[in-house]
Symmetry: C2
C-alpha cells in the first residue's frame, strides 16, 4: 500500500532522531506520546516534516520567489521550505479533526482506530498534503455564467472558505479510507499465521482490526454524504472497490498473471494509485473545475502513485545501498513479483521457471537475485518510475496558467513532490 | 446477527424437504445449485417460501379479502398467502440484480461474495421482504403543493415506478450491508482460532472474507450515492457504524456491563435492529413521507428487530422443545449473556458471580442453567419480545388510514410478521 512505503520514510526519520519507530508497538507508542506530550499535534507535525526532509536527498524545487534552494542539505532554513510546510497549519487542524472523529461510543474501538493513526503518523499526512496543495493549485476562476457571477457578488469569500472546508473534508475522507484499507490488509489469512503476526494484529486481534476499519469506512461514508455531491461519492466509493480488487489480485495471482507486466501495473494502480488519483480529481470536481482540469488532477495523482510504488519495489531489493539484496526483500519472500524482476525476466526468459515456483525455497530467491543483478531490471524499473513522475509533473504544467503566487507555489510544490518520490533512497 | 436466526428457519425448512442445509458448505452449495438448476431464482424462491411456511406454527393474519386463513396448516393454498409471497416476483428481480452485482473483475472475489449469498439464501430475503412490504404500506398520497400537483400531472405513473425502483435499491443496499457485516463478523480473532473455524473462513480465509465484505460495502456505497439523497446515505452509513459498535460492545464487555440489561438492549439494537429500522425509515424518506410517518416506519423495524433477537436468545436455550438446555447454548458457551439469564439474575443475585467468571468452565454453565430453570427468565424474555412485537404492530396501526387494498394488505402482512417472529419455535 501507498502508506507502507511512506511509513518507511517515517521510520528512517525517527531513526535519525534516535527514536526507533521500528521497535515494539508499545515502545513506538510511548515514543510517539513522548513526542506529542507538549502539544500533541503541532509538535509531531513540525518534527515529522523535519524527519521527512532528512530522507530526501534529491533536488528541491524552489518553493517561493525569495527562497533559497539547497541540494541534499537538511538545514533549519530548508525545513520551512518543503512542500509539506506549505500546508502544515491546515494539516494540524485536519489531524485534530481525525482524532476527534475516532472517538466513538465504544472506547476500545476508538483506541483501536486511534492506535493505527498513531502508527501511521508519518504516512497519514502525505495524501492530505498532496490534496491540500492540489486544492490551492486549482484555486482559479471557474467558468461561470454572468447570472451566476452577479448572484455570487459579495459572497465570493464565503464561498471560497466553504470550498476549502469541503476540500479538507476530502483529505480527511481519503485518510480514513487509506487507514481502513491498511487495517483490513493486515488481517491475516489462515495460512499466514505461521509467517508471524504483524504488530497491529498482535495488539488488536484480527476481528477488532476489521471492525476498526469498518468504523472508519462508515465515518468516511457519512462524511462523503455530507458533501452532497453524487459524483464525488461514487468516485471515492469506487476507490474502496479498487483497493479491494488490487489486494485480491495480489492474493490470487495465477502463475501466468504473475509474469504479466500489464497485470502488475493494473494491480499497482488499484492498490496504490487509485486512491490518490481519484481524490485529486474529487478536489477539482468540488471546485467546479472543467472535466479537462479534473482529468489533469487525476493524471497527476495516478502517475505520482505509480512512480512511488515502482521506487518502492526497487527499494525492496536495494534498500539504502545501490547494491542488490540490501533491502528487506519482503516482496520476493512473500512470492510477490514486482517490476524489477519482471524486466529481468524479459532479458532472461529462463528466470520465469524459477519465479513460477513461488519462492517458497530460499535458494530460488538467491537465483532470482543473481539474474536480477546481471539484468537491467532495477534500472528499467527506475526509468519507468521516472517516466511516470515526469508525466505527473507534465499534468501540473498543463493546468491553465495562473498568476496568483499561492497557486504557483503550490504547483511548484506538487512538481517538487514528483522529484522527491523518485530520488528518495529510503 | 439478524440473519443468523432467520437462516435457522431456512435450515429447518430445507431439512423438512430432506435437504440438509446444515451439512458441509460444498454439499450445501450443491444442494442449492440443484434446487436452482431449472430456473435459478424463481425455483428457489417458491421452494423457499414453502419451507418458511412450514416453520411458523403460530396464527396467520388474513392477507387478502378473498383469502382463507389456516392455523398451523401448510397447504398449497396457504403457501401463496404468506407475507413473503406478496413480494415474491420483486424479490426474484432483486436477487438477480444482487447476483449480477457481485460479478467483479476478479473472479475469486466475486465467487467469494456470491458464495455467501448462496449460504444465506433464506435469510437474505427477510429484510428485502419487510422493506418491499413497507414500500407498499406507505404507498399513499404525499403532502404536495398545488403547483407540484399540476407539474406532476400526467407523470404520476412514471414517478411511482421510479420511486419503487429507488425503494428496491434500498432493499438491495440493506442486503449488501447485512451480508458484508456477516462476512466481517465471521473473521476470527487470534484467540478464537482454537474454538474451531467457521465454514466460511475455512473456505475463504480471513482475508478474503474481509475483502469480500469491503467489496459489498463499496458497492452499497456506490448504490447509495446513486440515490442522490444525503439523508438516506447518512442514515445507512450510520447503520454500518452501529453494526460495528454492536459487535465491538459484545467483544469487549466488562464484567459490570455483562450484567446490565440496558447495555444488552443497546447492543441488541446496534447489532440487530438498527439496520432494519433505519432502512424502513429510508423507504419512507424516499417516498417523501412526513417525519411522523418515517418515525413510525423506524419504530416498526426497531421493535420487530428487538423482538426477533429476544426470541433468538430464548431459542438458544430452549431449541425446539419447551425445556431448557435443548438449544445450541451457543451464546452462553461463548460467554455471551442474554435476556433470559439477565432476568434470572434479578431473581437470584448470587448467579451474578457465576456469570462474571465467564463460563470458561462448563460446570458454571450447568449451574447457570439450573438457576435459569428455577427463574422466570425465559418467560420474561418472551414477554419482552411480545411487548416489542406489539409495539411494532402498533406502529403500523398508527399509520394514516388508507383505503387502497394493496396498502392494507401489505400493512396486514407487516403485522403478521410481528406474530410470526414471536411464535416461531425454530
Amino acid at each position: 500500500m501507498f502508506l507502507r512505503g511512506f511509513t518507511r520514510i517515517s521510520k528512517a526519520g525517527f531513526n535519525n532522531k534516535r527514536l526507533h519507530w521500528s521497535c515494539s508497538p508499545a515502545l513506538a507508542t510511548a515514543a510517539y506520546n513522548q513526542l506529542c506530550s507538549a502539544n500533541p499535534l503541532k509538535d509531531i507535525t513540525s518534527k515529522h516534516w523535519e524527519c521527512a526532509e532528512i530522507n530526501f536527498t534529491g533536488s528541491h524545487v524552489l518553493l517561493g520567489a525569495r527562497r533559497q534552494v539547497h541540494y541534499g542539505a537538511t538545514s533549519a532554513v530548508e525545513d520551512q521550505l518543503d512542500p509539506f510546510s506549505l500546508v502544515a497549519d491546515e494539516l494540524s487542524l485536519l489531524a485534530n479533526r481525525l482524532r476527534s472523529m475516532v472517538v466513538a461510543e465504544v472506547p476500545k474501538l476508538a483506541s483501536g482506530a486511534e492506535y493505527f493513526f498513531k502508527m501511521g503518523v508519518e504516512g497519514k499526512r502525505f495524501r492530505p498534503t498532496v490534496l491540500l496543495l492540489m486544492a490551492t493549485a486549482l484555486n482559479m476562476p471557474v467558468p461561470m455564467s454572468s447570472a451566476e457571477r452577479s448572484s455570487n457578488f459579495g459572497v465570493v469569500d464565503t464561498l471560497a472558505t466553504e470550498l476549502r472546508t469541503r476540500q479538507q473534508c476530502i483529505a480527511e475522507i481519503t485518510e480514513m479510507i487509506h487507514v481502513a484499507s491498511l487495517l483490513h490488509d493486515d488481517v491475516l489469512d489462515d495460512a499466514d499465521t505461521r509467517r508471524g503476526i504483524s504488530s497491529l494484529n498482535s495488539v488488536m486481534g484480527n476481528k477488532l482490526a476489521v471492525l476498526a476499519g469498518d468504523f472508519l469506512l462508515s465515518r468516511a461514508c457519512v462524511a462523503l454524504a455530507s458533501l452532497n455531491n453524487t459524483e464525488v461519492v461514487s468516485l471515492l466509493a469506487k476507490v474502496v472497490e479498487h483497493l479491494v480488487t488490487g489486494e485480491t489480485m495480489q492474493m490470487t495471482t495465477t502463475s501466468e498473471q504473475r509474469l504479466n507486466m500489464e497485470y502488475y501495473m493494473q494491480k499497482t494502480y488499484y492498490k496504490t494509485a487509485s486512491l490518490i488519483s481519484n481524490s485529486c480529481k474529487a478536489i477539482a470536481l468540488l471546485a467546479g473545475q472543467t472535466a479537462e482540469v479534473a482529468t489533469l488532477a487525476f493524471e497527476y495523482g495516478k502517475n505520482l502513485g505509480l512512480a512511488y510504488q515502482l521506487i518502492d519495489d526497487v527499494l525492496d531489493y536495494t534498500g539504502t545501498s545501490a547494491s542488490l539484496g540490501k533491502g528487506s526483500l519482503s516482496d520476493i519472500r512473500h512470492g510477490i513479483v514486482t517490476a524489477p524482476l519482471l524486466f529481468a525476466i524479459e532479458e532472461f526468459p529462463q528466470l520465469s521457471k524459477v519465479v513460477q515456483r513461488g519462492f517458497d525455497n530460499s535458494a530460488d530467491i538467491d537465483i532470482a537475485l543473481e539474474y536480477l543483478g546481471r539484468s537491467q531490471g532495477i534500472q528499467r524499473a527506475k526509468d519507468l518510475a521516472q517516466k511516470h513522475a515526469t508525466q505527473a509533473a507534465q499534468a501540473i504544467d498543463s493546468l491553465p496558467e495562473n498568476d496568483d503566487e499561492d497557486v504557483r507555489r503550490s504547483r511548484r510544490a506538487l512538481v517538487d513532490l514528483t522529484h522527491r518520490v523518485i530520488t528518495r533512497t529510503k
